[in-house]
Amino acid sequence: MILAWALDFAILAIAVAVALCLWRLLRGPEITDRVLALDTLYINAVALAVLLGLRLNTLLLFEAALIIAMLGFVSTVALGRYLARGDVIE
């Protein structure tokens, strides 16, 4: 009972956080703000996938969360290198 309530609360909080990240992603005055918003967005997506995996009682979404975490980190590194150096791999 209490765990189901806390799961719903956490899903709601993370959903609001995702919405705020999207706002910063669309608004962001600098390009680095948008990259930061993408980074936070994938971290929140990992949390959302884990919470939905608990809610729906499936192990499949944990694999999805792992893949989102890895690809999100690689994409952030690629974007940061591109902004700082002008290319990703020299």
Binding site: I14, V18, T32, N44, L51, A69
Partner: protein, 116 residues
């Protein structure tokens, strides 16, 4: 509805619920900080610390639930380890990119420095 969660004992449900609430609040605080702060270098603070802690809380709760079910919880451990290793690296890269692009900062110069 959530079938497996309700049958867990109370001493698992209460700490897991507390971790979930705290984690959700921290993630929310991180996102609010990213929206509300003034310039990029301030904004870099909020998500990199608070959101990582929030996801850590959520993953710890998930780890607790899977241990109570008798599963090893390898996925949660892997995700936690990976996120906690990679979050400072990506924040450092974004900071270096912002310094390279000369993103404007509202922070005052430290005292004792010659003013331009």
């Amino acid at each position: 509805m959530s079938t497996g969660i309700e049958s867990l004992p109370l001493w698992v449900q209460v700490p897991a619920a507390m971790l979930l609430v705290v984690g959700g609040l921290f993630a929310l605080v991180g996102a609010v900080g990213m929206v509300r702060f003034g310039d990029f270098f301030m904004r870099l603070h909020a998500p990199t610390k608070a959101s990582t802690l929030g996801v850590g809380g959520v993953l710890l709760a998930s780890l607790l639930v899977s241990w109570a079910r008798g599963q090893p919880g390898l996925h949660e451990l892997l995700i936690t380890l990976f996120l906690f290793v990679t979050a400072p690296v990506s924040a450092n890269l974004m900071g270096m990119a912002a310094l390279h692009l000369r993103v404007p900062s509202h922070a005052p110069l430290p005292p004792g420095q010659p003013q331009e």
